[in-house]
Symmetry: C2
C-alpha cells in the first residue's frame, strides 16, 4: 500500500463526519485506516505496507499459486443492495475461492482500491472491514496494494498468493470418464438473493439480517478454503474448479479442460431450500436459475471411483457438505438429465454480452 | 486468465473488422488474442493462463517482491492522447518501476483488464501489444489475470512478482544524514509531454513519432529495471524509490521513511532539454514543473559516501545515466536550494484531491 503523494495537516481527521467524502482525507490517513485493524505482520513478511513493493520469504518445498480477480460496481455488484462490508468481503472471497479450487492454502493478498472521491469515508471503512475480517478469518496477510481515484465505478482488484505441495495442485484438467462429479454446499441462494434485491425496493444497503440466507449468500459468500486445501493435500480430487460463473459454466469448463463429457442429474442438485421457495413464488424454474446463476462460490469436484474413500475422509475433515450431482462421460457431450430427458446443460453468465 | 463464461460459434471471428467492439467477441477469443503473442511458458510455470489460478515454482534462496498498481482512464491517462499500446506499456512499466525501486528482478505478471464493451477490438489488441512487448523485453512472464466489463473507464491493474537476494532488497528507509541523492535519467519530459497533449488538439491518439521525446516519455516510460537490479545486487544504494508521483513527492517520502532531511540543488536537476524548451515557450517554470510533475519512472537513489565507487560501478554496468541532485541531512527538513535561497521542496501530485 503506497502512501502516494498527499499529506494533510490533521492526519487523524478527528472532526470529519462518517459521511465526509474520502476526498477530504489524505491517502496517508486512508492507508492508516486500512492498517489499523491488521494484526502484526508475520516474520516471513520482510517489508509490508508502505514501501514501493512488499518483500516476503517464500515457503520451502511448496509451489506458489497466484490469482487475481476484480469486482466492478455496476457489473458484479450494485451499491444499492450491496453494503460496503459485502463489497470488501466479496472481493477477497472470489479470490480465495480461486485458490481453494486449486487446493492451495492462502497466504497473502495485495489490494487495489479504485474509488470515487465522493465515497463516504464510512463506506470506505466498511469495505476495508469486510476485507480485513475475512482476511483475519482465513489467515491471509494484507501485504500491500494501491489506492487510486475512480472517475466512475468502484473497482476492487485483489491478487492472492497461496501455496500448495508439489503435485498436489488441483486443476480443471484431470477428470476422466467415469469420475463422479460433486458440488460443495448448496446452489441457487446467491442468484435468488440477487433476484430478490432486484425485484424489491432494497432501499439503502444496510447489512443483511444474519438470519436472511438469501441476502447472506449473495453478500457474504463463503469461499471453500478448508475443503480445497484438504482435497489437494489428500489427492482426493481428479479435477476441481469454482462456480463463480454458475454451475453450468463450471461443468462445461471442467469437461472441456479434461477432454471428457458430463451428465448432470437435475434431481440431485442441492438447491438451497430458501432459493427453491423464492423461485417458486416468482414462477421461475429453480433448476434452470440455479444452474445459470453466478455468485455461488462453491467447488465443482471430480472424483475417481477408486478414490472415493479418500474424498469422503477429506470432506468429513472439512466440515463442508458435498452432493453428488453427476458423472463424467467419454463422449464429450455435456448434458442435463431431467425427468428422464437429456438435453444440453445450459451455460452460465456471459461477461461481455 | 480465466475464460469465464462466454463462448461463441465462430471463435476466430474472422469476419469482424478492427473497429468491432469487444462485446462482439467471446472472452475465449479475447484471451486467445492475449495468449497468441506470448512465448512458450518457462519450466517453472506449472500452470499458466487458463485455470482458476497460476501455479509456479519459487526461486530458491530468493526473497519475493510483489507490487500491484492500477492505471485508470480519466485519472492516469486520457484516451484522446494515449494510444492503446501506451496504455498497455504504461500499466506494466509503472509496476516494473516499483520492482526496480526495490532492487528486484521481475519474474511474472498477472493482468486485470476492466474494459468497456464498446472498446474497438483493435484497441484491445493495441493494449495487449504494449503489454506483451514490454513483458518480452524485460523477460516477464504473463502468468494469468482476469477480464471484466467496465460500465465506465478502462482500468488496467497489474500485479508483478520479482525476486531479490536476502538482505539485498532496497527500501525507502535506509538513508542516513550525509548520504548523497541521485536521480536516474532525466525528469520533466513526461510532464511536458502531458502539458503539450493537453494544450494542443491531439486529435485521435496515434502512436507518437519515435523522434518525439516528450510524447515518448509520457506514453512509453522506461522502467529502470537493470539499474535497480544492479543497485540491489551490489549493495550500492542505502535507499531507493521511484518517482511515479514526481521528484518532490519521492524526496519527501524517502526522507520521512529514513528519518532524515534533504537538500536538493535546483541547478543540478537533470531536466530534459526538450522539456526545458517546452516549458520556456509556455512561460512555465521548468524546475517547479519538473519537481511536481508525475509520470517520470526514474529512480531516486541515496548513496553512502563510502559506497560511492560501488555505486558508480553499478551505474556503469546498467547503461543508465544518473545525476547527483542533493544530500540527506540530519535536521528532517526537506529543502530546495535555488539561487542561493532555501525553501521547502514542493510535493507532487495528490491522488484524491
Amino acid at each position: 500500500m503506497r502512501s502516494d503523494g498527499a499529506t494533510r495537516i490533521a492526519d487523524a481527521s478527528p472532526g470529519l463526519s462518517p459521511d465526509a467524502p474520502i476526498a477530504e482525507f489524505s491517502e496517508r490517513e486512508l492507508i492508516a485506516r486500512i492498517r489499523r485493524p491488521l494484526p502484526a505482520a508475520p516474520a516471513w513478511m520482510i517489508v509490508g505496507i508502505g514501501d514501493d513493493a512488499a518483500v516476503v520469504e517464500t515457503e520451502r518445498n511448496r509451489l506458489e499459486v497466484l490469482s487475481l480477480d476484480a469486482i466492478v460496481e455496476g457489473v458484479h455488484f450494485d451499491r444499492r443492495f450491496t453494503p460496503p462490508r459485502a463489497i470488501g468481503h466479496r472481493a477477497l472471497a472470489v479470490n480465495l475461492s480461486d485458490l481453494a479450487a486449486m487446493g492451495a492454502a492462502p497466504r497473502l493478498a495485495l489490494v487495489s482500491l479504485v474509488l470515487p472521491p465522493a465515497l463516504p469515508v464510512s463506506h470506505f471503512d466498511g469495505i476495508v472491514a469486510g476485507l480485513t475480517d475475512l482476511a483475519a478469518k482465513e489467515r491471509v496477510e494484507i501485504a500491500g496494494g494501491n489506492l487510486a481515484r475512480s472517475p466512475g465505478p468502484i473497482v476492487v482488484d485483489i491478487t492472492v498468493v497461496g501455496t500448495v505441495k508439489r503435485r498436489r495442485a488441483l486443476t480443471r484438467a484431470g477428470a476422466k470418464a467415469g469420475d463422479e462429479l460433486y458440488v460443495s454446499g448448496s446452489i441457487g441462494a446467491a442468484a435468488a438473493g440477487l433476484d430478490r434485491f432486484r425485484s424489491t425496493d432494497a432501499g439503502d444497503a444496510g447489512a443483511p439480517a444474519a438470519d436472511d440466507p438469501l441476502a447472506s449468500a449473495y453478500c457474504f459468500p463463503t469461499p471453500r478454503v478448508r475443503l480445497g486445501v484438504l482435497l489437494g493435500r489428500n489427492e482426493a480430487a481428479s479435477a476441481c474448479m469454482d462456480l463463480s460463473d454458475g454451475l453450468g459454466d463450471a461443468v462445461h469448463q471442467l469437461a472441456a479442460a479434461s477432454g471428457v463429457g458430463a451428465t448432470i442429474e437435475a434431481d440431485w442438485l442441492p438447491i438451497h431450500a430458501n432459493a427453491r421457495e423464492w423461485f417458486a413464488a416468482r414462477r421461475i424454474d429453480a433448476i434452470d436459475a440455479s444452474i445459470a446463476g453466478g455468485d455461488d462460490y462453491e467447488l465443482l469436484i471430480a472424483v475417481r471411483p477408486r478414490g472415493r474413500r479418500r474424498f469422503e475422509a477429506a470432506v468429513r475433515s472439512s466440515g463442508t457438505a458435498v452432493t453428488r450431482i453427476g458423472v463424467c462421460t467419454a463422449d464429450r457431450e455435456v448434458l442435463l438429465r431431467r425427468s428422464g430427458q437429456e438435453a444440453a446443460l445450459p451455460r452460465g453468465y456471459q461477461h461481455f454480452r
